[in-house]
């Protein structure tokens, strides 16, 4: 009786049930991975930087010439409407994670499949943040082991990761590689073809050295909203934070390291390629950033995620899997 109400997904102007939120096999999204998207979260039910997410989406649409006739204002209104409609289906303690997808719609040669005119595809889904972060609570204590796989990031000159897109099959290749590593809590951290640290398969990367924060230049990475926020928080705290080409050597030599992403804000990276970074625990600067972030949004970020975990463990006796880890058959 946990979630008695139904969640609805906005799909081209209509509302459909989550399990029915589907896209035609003739859509450019499925033919070419030609879809751009955003994923957000709320803190205390209030969306965080929704406008910034939507503006990034609009820029992507402009670059890819997706002729959607919804302004950022209209998209924002739709998002809020979706949340309002779904709130009854959310527990009090959960947060709204939106997924906003846009594609140019079915390719023209397949238009005849449909009995009515078709255009760009817009999806706004809204599901519990809990799904994404459950099991991550322990990582704030133990940290993750960032591992460099053989797979390299595709450089921006070939396909720009700054446009949050759905042509990321190579992320799965990296994840499959990681699944063959010994130990736990291994996350892929991709190098770009020049050998610089790029990003994780879903998170940005930072190091702290001599009380200064460094993160890869905004080139072969997504310029994450959480990443942007770290710059702001650092400024507030009077900590220097700047972009720099980072190499594995810099990570080994760092005092602390962390990754950022919308669902968990920031997680400590305590090991790099199975080698301890700094003290091997969450560093002081990382903690400080998480604290101020939490204060700013009125949520104890770590406690909330740990609580999700307990909630789920109470509900089911089964083990909690780390969602970012890829499962594959071993040899």
């Amino acid at each position: 009786m946990n979630q008695p109400a139904q969640r609805w997904v906005y799909l081209n102007g209509e509302y459909v049930r989550e399990a029915d939120a589907k896209i035609s096999i003739f859509d450019s999204a499925l033919m070419f991975g030609d879809m751009i998207f955003e994923m957000t979260r709320s803190f205390n039910k209030k969306q965080f930087r929704l406008r910034e997410h939507l503006e990034r989406l609009a820029l992507g649409m402009k670059i890819f010439h997706i002729p959607l006739d919804l302004s950022v204002d209209q998209l924002e209104a739709r998002c809020l409407e979706v949340i309002e409609k779904n709130e009854p289906a959310f527990s009090k303690t959960d947060e709204h994670r939106l997924m906003i997808n846009v594609s140019r719609g079915p390719l023209s040669i397949y238009h005849k499949v449909f009995d009515r005119p078709v255009g760009p595809t817009v999806v706004i889904a809204d599901f519990p943040l809990k799904w994404t972060v459950v099991g991550m609570g322990a990582l704030f204590d133990k940290g993750i082991n960032a591992v460099v796989p053989s797979q390299r990031a595709i450089p921006a000159a070939l396909m720009d990761p700054k446009i949050k897109n759905r042509s990321r099959m190579f992320y799965q290749t990296a994840n499959i590689e990681l699944s063959r590593m010994k130990g736990e809590n291994n996350w892929a951290l991709l190098l770009d073809p020049d050998g610089f640290i790029a990003e994780g398969t879903g998170c940005n990367f930072f190091i702290v050295k001599d009380k200064k924060i460094f993160t890869p230049e905004g080139r072969n990475i997504l310029r994450g909203i959480s990443r942007n926020y770290i710059f702001e928080l650092a400024e507030t705290l009077g900590i220097s934070c700047r972009e720099k080409n980072l190499e594995p050597y810099d990570v080994y030599a760092a005092d602390e390291a962390f990754v950022t992403a919308t669902p968990f804000c920031a997680l400590p990276v305590t090991h790099f390629n199975f080698t301890k970074i700094g003290s091997g625990a969450m560093g002081a600067v990382t903690r400080q950033l998480l604290d101020v972030w939490g204060k700013n949004v009125g949520v104890d970020i770590v406690r909330q995620i740990k609580a999700f975990n307990e909630e789920v463990q109470l509900a089911s006796a089964g083990p909690v899997s780390t969602p970012y880890q890829f499962k594959t058959e071993e040899k």
Copy 2:
């Protein structure tokens, strides 16, 4: 009253109507462009090299660790079943174009969306070849103008085009560039980052020089089934045909050039970057290959495609668009 019967799409063991052939927004296919596929055609209703297509698909599934429990035999049986079921909806003169999609299915953190267990996704669609090739009849006479856009092919070391996949947003970038070119019948021909000719956004490329056929090495390209067949036909005809790194210079210096793809087999490339190749018309070797191909499969390939065009023009008064051309708003 042209196509009174309905076409059906095989979707995870069930048959759905074409317009209802959709994939969940939580599927890895849509989250990561993580889907592999094949597209085939028939000649006189008989599938061409279906087995070869499915073996390439199976190799892709092995490399990407998609745990589908269908053997190549079983996939082949499904394909033939789909065709049989759809034949009533096809005109006598049309051919079956299959689209076979496979993905690893919804990501595990979203499994709870569905009320039953979910696994890999399999789609087999079957639609008229006519849709793809209509309007191409004239190209056998005029040829296409292959143009090198600024967008480069992603090299195999970063994401392998030899695995026919759906992470190809950069194809659309190339197509958008082409839409800004003057003139007609311009098709994108991508260079790889080394400056070698790679492939079109959906076709392989060949040149003929001194009665020998050359095609780019099987590296940063799809090793197309039609491409493979050209090697066989050339051998039959006693014409040398081999792989070689080709540069723009080689194309300018060629006697003739052509592209191959499943729907149209081979089309002459009469211009390269708006510059005439050889005589500027279909070359003798290209014609010979099309002739033998047609004889082998019992279909006059050019005539069939031209006939599709007339059929459509009879049915509708409107103009026939070139399907491979991308439409975008001009400045």
Copy 3:
């Protein structure tokens, strides 16, 4: 009766008529494109940063070991002499555009062709600025569309664009590509092989974002005198202006963009790859820079160039061509 007096070109210590200013086919300049040069302009008849131009020329001569026995002082004196000699042939409203060429002269194996000893070649030509900028007046209003061609800039490690040289056949390749694009006012903007914005085929590129000015790092580009001056003007105006690796994404996301070159100082770039930048008109910062520049040199830059246009249209009934656009036969 517009220009009754004759213009003279300084050629190895002598003055020749413009049409007779020629270089031997045995000169290293013609054998290897082995010539370095500068092109200047005046404002109100006063040369702008002539000294800076000549010092750049001298650095190039040092690097290429061109054993010219003229000091920068001497070269400057020659330039002023040339201008003085030509002033009678210039209308009151026109400006002096100098072209200064230096090469190491005829190759030694061809010295026997000449009946006297030969050494390095020096040319100082002086022609009306009007020739270069006529037709550009409208561009201050409409702006140009900067388009990335397939041709990449040659990186400095292979042949350094910072030395203003005459081995630039690849500029013509880019210009030929541009001539095939739809629409008007398209100018080539080259990427370097790393995918960073380099320069136009004759101009430097800037963007403005959040009231800060950015321009590509001084690596695979000419470090233009006008570019240098923008840094100075920005400092005067209290606007941040700095070098940064710029990618196409940054241009799409910019608020405004402009190009700089000696003849026109700065022109707005209102479109990038046929996509509107910012408002699609000259931006506030660009305008401010042009204004201050004009004030500093006592010339209303935009008005002057527009006036040239009217002047020419009065003189001839024919259309005014955009000089930077390359004409080529269409397919």
Copy 4:
């Protein structure tokens, strides 16, 4: 009284004296290094493969869109006319070395400089082969030392060396480097950016290993007419000769090596980076190729060049300089 008659240069339809063969400073050739060319030679006064040279020139004109209205036939006729006209000025023992230059002519904005319509520029000069090869006689015995400078060849993807063009300032950079090396008879042999042997600054490179001939793939090099002829000669002699990516290691391990160019046909490379190759003298295969070549054209190639040397030494008491060596001031 050696050469009493005057030599004439064909220049845009007229004949001018050698010393007056000049090109306007406003020509695209001088503005951009935008000129393509050929240089030929005769054997016993008969041009060698003139047609092949002119067809390569025509291909270059097509690629660079130089709208010259002379066919290959017409160009050939002009060449023969030039030779006929100049023959009186040639000694009996000398050979005709043609230099054929073509550019698109003065840039349009400078057309007003000229008092008559201007178009593409064509130059056909004809001078004694002796000039180029005098001093090389001894090299057939001692061989040259091929040295890899720091300067790399510009790869074809950026500016194609297969089009014989005049944007080769980087050749001079390589030659300047070579002038700082100890010893004599050092010639630059460029690597391409991949580290493969490309070509000399004016010659193609071959090695012989286990009685097989190898030469770099026809990619980042000029596909020389002499290089082509070596393939033919090898076939006649039953010696395998094929293209292969060659690395410095392969040269060190070679049994013999040689370079080819039009004026001297083939010269032995006896040292590579100051290290002996094979026996350190002209190899048996090189000698065999020179012999057959000489027989085919009715000239003892080595003896002729050595004779030029003696002739000159008789005429003047001064030393004979190696023409390919670059002179520069030492530190």
Copy 5:
């Protein structure tokens, strides 16, 4: 009482005990990794292709200008002398594995350390083959799992692997990466920076496809003596064997794969990146090659290595470690 006699190492003309075979810390070998070497083996006590090994060594000395005054003949004589001297210390069933090291000796500024003149360093050690191959017996049945680490091979243009040298710290980096993988019998297989298969950290790589053998081009690899021998064996057997740029895709698609190295001749590669190749067992062609090789040298290669294993297990109760696997502390 197994090996009562002592083994001796040749060191600069003297014989020292194995444990005393040491090189000065002032030697260029230790200062720069500036040492080249060979490692051989015998079959039935007879050295295999010793001459070929020494000629490769001599080529390396020539390229690196190591002024050793021993000819290949003299080196060969020394090797045979070393073996003769050590034979008493070898069991009947064991084979002689030579290690021949050459460096240019102590750097000149440290010569004063020594009380006598110092020159190049030569070492010839001779130890039981058993040491290297013990534990490998089972691999002929199970095969190895070749895994691509993040570490790339250093390309020949930067430091040539064709010269067997001691600057290979990056091999250890690759081996450390491998030690973190799950499962057993994982061997590193390096890609070069272009993404082509290069070599293992001590072995060459081959695939078999459609009964044809392919191995990476001899570029970014050691051209192994065993690799050379495979070409010979294949020719004898009438099997096509040729060099080709191989990519991971080609390995996944292969029918069989194997690695070669002097100690074990050839070992099956049954998995690639934890994915089964072909049948997952030693392939028919691999077996055929091992069989003929064994016949040619009069040794059952597989049986011999398996016998070493049993011998050791009888002698000691402890487990047998795989020598090529790197041990490192786990996180």
Copy 6:
């Protein structure tokens, strides 16, 4: 009777005579160049930044997983002990140059060679600074000529120069190239594969332009202790000093240039590629840095090194060789 006492080298816990400081041929240091090291110096017998050297060593050991059980404190104690023990063997005016080598020791398959357990190898040698710098006195006046060889620096992504390691055979390749250059005092200055200035084969590089100091980014170089100290000194002096990608052009355009290394602190670079930099003598900023450095450590750096020279010349009549110059047989 100059140095009557003996110097001792610390070797795995024991003290051996210098000439006996040797490492087993089975050590990973000799098998793979797998050794990391530091070299220090004293000023007035006091070690300079020893701690900083040892911390860099410790970081290298962590990255390469060398399981040495000595802390930085313990290593420091050993170093001081070595110096104390050797001081009697040093003249009053000389300084202690330590060489600290660490490797993982003999490879496990060779452990049986030794009659006792073996582990990591540690060497601490201590020899007169004089050996390294003798003959350099004149360079403070004349400066060196930094020359770019064909050999490129290996980029950090392939083998990281920031870890001071012994896999540097390519340094010798560069030095061999330099030995073929005309003139004197030529030192190799390597470019990285991107064409940026990296470092010398044993020193860091700086330029001074407009009273600002620039040095290559800390990427494809060793981040030298002397280099770090220049940053500190510059800050003290109020001179801007920062990292920047430097190209040859920047060096040609510089006002002064210098290299830094532990033994000589800083030496002026007065020529670059045989071309004068600035005035061609030691620049004012270089002098200022050397002065302050000297004051801080209580040693007149230039005078001390010049004095070493005189001392040696008094002792021996022979010529003093430049230690950094590589001797090789000329052609």
